[in-house]
């Protein structure tokens, strides 16, 4: 049989990776046209984008820093998708992970304790959606959207009230110095290592354990999973809980592993939006934990390069957002791959 594009290496299929690369390339191409249309030099703009993201150790460090939280929230979405669930509750769990880190490290200033409690609370906030889904059949789109909002206001209440910083009311009390995550350098902490580890573990869980096999099987075909002796309800539970746990970890590390503030800002400004960003990251990473590592790095790069692109090429942030939007949209088109392949074949034939 043919052994080309569809041949598998272990359970890692390279085709989606190539597809995403092509999409990103096309996205940059269209983005370049947009830049040109608004009177900017795309080569200059992109040069500074990459320079800012990868041109220096500091740039690389910030790329990695930006990649950290969205890698974890993307995993939440990916696990959901692999289990047949459209889980958009990462956002809410992320808030709870963050607030848990603040609360509990101030009770016992220990990094591991803070991370553990972040994961626990993240998972706990995912529990209602899981229970409602399994026992009441409530569609997760409703429950997670509602829970995100409820969690948002609840955390806002906590950070402006009970956990406001008496010395500096613009933020919550800080993570005690002993409980902060050690820095690698240039403001980058070991959180990135944990995030990559979490991705690899998630991959391992989904593709190499019986539990993960059960989760994936349930996601693709619930009846068949039940027939095979698996427990789809449990798979759904696991999916929500592990998802919540990962986002909770993301939230905790966002506060414990990222200076200079080490506290939640009032209005939740530094914990908002990561869950939603994670959806895009997961999709570009084709809902595969290893793909997510790459996708998160890619998004981290786009964000890290933005500053220099603004400063040097004077491209306003709005245009950068437009370009990001275009790149994401092109990722949706898998047939790009086939088109490109066809073009290559034609080229080769001639």
């Amino acid at each position: 049989m043919r052994k080309s594009g569809s041949e598998l290496i272990g359970s890692i299929n390279l085709r989606p990776f190539v597809e995403s690369l092509i999409a990103i390339f096309v996205g940059f191409l269209i983005g370049g046209i947009v830049l040109l249309a608004f009177g900017y030099n795309p080569f200059e703009a992109y040069y500074w984008l990459f320079q800012g993201a990868l041109g220096s150790t500091r740039g690389i460090a910030s790329t990695l820093k930006y990649a950290t939280p969205i890698m974890l929230t993307a995993l939440t979405f990916a696990i959901g998708t692999r289990t047949g669930i459209f889980n958009i509750g990462a956002e809410g769990s992320f808030y709870f992970g963050a607030i848990a880190a603040v609360i509990f490290t101030n009770i016992w200033p220990n990094m591991w304790f803070g991370l553990a409690m972040g994961m626990l609370l993240g998972a706990l906030w995912a529990l209602p959606a899981a229970v409602l889904k399994v026992y009441r059949g409530v569609h997760e789109v409703i429950s997670t959207i509602m829970l995100n909002w409820i969690g948002w206001f609840f955390v806002l209440w906590l950070i402006v009230g009970p956990y406001a910083n008496p010395n500096d009311p613009n933020k919550t009390i800080r993570i005690p110095v002993e409980a902060r995550m050690p820095e690698i350098g240039y403001g980058l902490s070991i959180a990135i290592i944990f995030a990559v580890l979490a991705s690899v573990l998630t991959y391992f869980l989904l593709w190499h354990t019986t539990t993960g096999f059960g989760m994936r099987a349930s996601g693709m075909n619930e009846r068949a999973a039940r027939y095979a002796g698996m427990n789809p309800k449990r798979a759904v539970m696991w999916s929500f809980l592990i998802g919540g746990l990962l986002s909770g970890l993301g939230g905790a590390m966002k506060i414990m592993g990222e200076g200079p503030t080490y506290a939640i800002s009032q209005g939740g400004a530094n914990i908002y939006g990561f869950g939603f960003d994670g959806i895009g990251v997961s999709l570009v990473g084709r809902n595969h934990p290893l793909g997510i590592i790459l996708a998160a790095l890619f998004f981290g790069m786009l964000r890290a390069g933005t500053a220099l692109m603004q400063a040097e090429a004077q491209v306003p942030l709005e245009i950068i957002k437009v370009i990001q939007g275009i790149i994401v949209i092109t990722v949706a088109v898998p047939s790009l791959y086939d088109l490109v392949k066809k073009a290559f074949h034609r080229g080769a034939a001639q």
Binding site: R58, L156, V160, Q266, G273, R303, A307, Q310
Partner: protein, 387 residues
């Protein structure tokens, strides 16, 4: 978009907005005005940098500082405090100015703070007196997300209202009790929510509503305009009060005045000091006395209006149904004339007393503090909280 262009300039300044970005109708927009004015006056390049999220602050400041070409880097918003501290340490030769952030002890950082409580007291007095004059017993304030920086606005407003009660009693010999309806809408970005909030307050009897809610506050203006509309009126009362910039031009007739926070002045001053070699680290606190906050005058509004691009001004006038700039100005004056002169005089009196230091306005920093202000029965009681 990129002023300065090809012509040779004497250097550059940079401004980093917080996540609200340009168009927040608040300190980012005002900061831009100040920076633009300074850049034009001193012939400087202006580099603007927006922030996508709070995580960008360090990165943005660092990127600019590393370029080592800016006379001063201006960070807009209290959220950037920690980021400025960190980057200022890394680049001790780079001058920074931060708006609303408290960094007292660095030679290369100028912290520019504003006494929003004082300005809010003036609009509180205005609101209270308008209500009392019309025999009403409620005024409102619609705020954005509940964050401690807003407590100063709420407290100042309450102070002004209480002061107005007292003033009115002295003047007319009649006891009045004016309730302050307040609500935090949980967002700075949803005009519809602001509209619903204002609607609810109006239904519950609020006669003047002060908005401290960014984009959400736009809905407050609309709600008040609607009530006027339903009564066939073009001008209040009821009125809305704007915030941060002279917002009166947004809906003339509906907005009686605005609590101005002159971030533009702060930014301009910082640049000027840097250009002229007078830059000093430390705290610069701008209150009523320093002209850092105030109640908008018609001239302020017109200046704000004039800062818009020429064609935007023309369009705006057309939209509002005026033939000329002067008509707008007249209209604004006419709006203010809906309120008797003694009220304006009273507000002026309060302003003078605050400037003179006779009256102090509380500026609570946390929930506990604002709670005490809410519970206080008189402005004198509140004043005690101010020290």
């Amino acid at each position: 978009i990129s002023p300065g262009g090809e012509e040779s300039t004497k250097g550059a300044i940079a401004i980093v907005y917080d996540v609200g970005g340009r168009g927040d109708l608040s300190f980012n927009d005002m900061a831009y005005l100040g920076a633009k004015r300074a850049a034009e006056e001193f012939n400087l390049d202006l580099v603007e940098m927006q922030s996508n999220s709070e995580d960008d602050y360090v990165k943005n400041l660092e990127t600019l500082a590393a370029q080592k070409k800016y006379l001063v880097i201006i960070a807009v918003g209290f959220m950037m405090t920690d980021a400025v501290k960190q980057v200022a340490d890394e680049y001790p030769d780079q001058k920074f100015a931060i708006i609303d952030g408290y960094i007292p002890d660095k030679d290369n950082v100028m912290s520019i703070l504003f006494k929003e409580n004082e300005g809010s007291a003036l609009v509180g007095a205005l609101a209270g007196l308008i209500a009392a004059n019309d025999g009403k017993d409620k005024v409102g304030i619609v705020l954005g997300m509940e964050i401690p920086v807003l407590y100063k606005f709420e407290a100042g407003y309450r102070f002004g209202v209480k002061w107005a009660e007292d003033y009115y009693k002295q003047k007319e010999g009649k006891d009045v009790a004016i309730d302050v309806l307040y609500q935090y809408t949980g967002t700075f970005n949803d005009a519809a929510k602001g509209k619903a909030a204002a609607r609810a307050q109006l239904a519950q009897g609020a006669w003047v509503i002060y908005q401290v809610a960014g984009g959400t506050g736009l809905g407050v203006f609309d709600a008040v305009a609607e009530v006027l509309d339903s009564q066939g009126k073009k001008m209040g009362p009821p009125f809305a009060i704007g915030v941060d910039s002279a917002q009166d031009w947004i809906k003339p007739g509906v907005i009686i005045a605005s609590m101005m926070k002159r971030v533009d002045v702060g930014v301009y001053t910082a640049v000027k000091d840097a250009v002229e070699g007078n830059f000093k680290g430390g705290i610069v606190e701008l209150g009523l006395k320093e002209g850092g906050v105030g109640i908008s005058t018609v001239d302020d509004v017109m200046a704000m209006f004039d800062s818009l691009p020429e064609d935007t001004q023309q369009q705006k006038l057309k939209d509002l149904g005026f033939n000329s700039r002067d008509e707008l100005k007249q209209y604004l004056e006419q709006t203010r004339a809906q309120v008797p002169d003694w009220v304006w005089d009273a507000v002026k009196e309060l302003q003078d007393k605050i400037v003179a230091g006779v009256i102090k306005v509380p500026a609570p920093m946390d929930q506990e503090g604002i709670q005490k202000v809410r519970e206080a029965k008189t402005w004198q009681e509140m004043m005690e909280l101010a020290s």
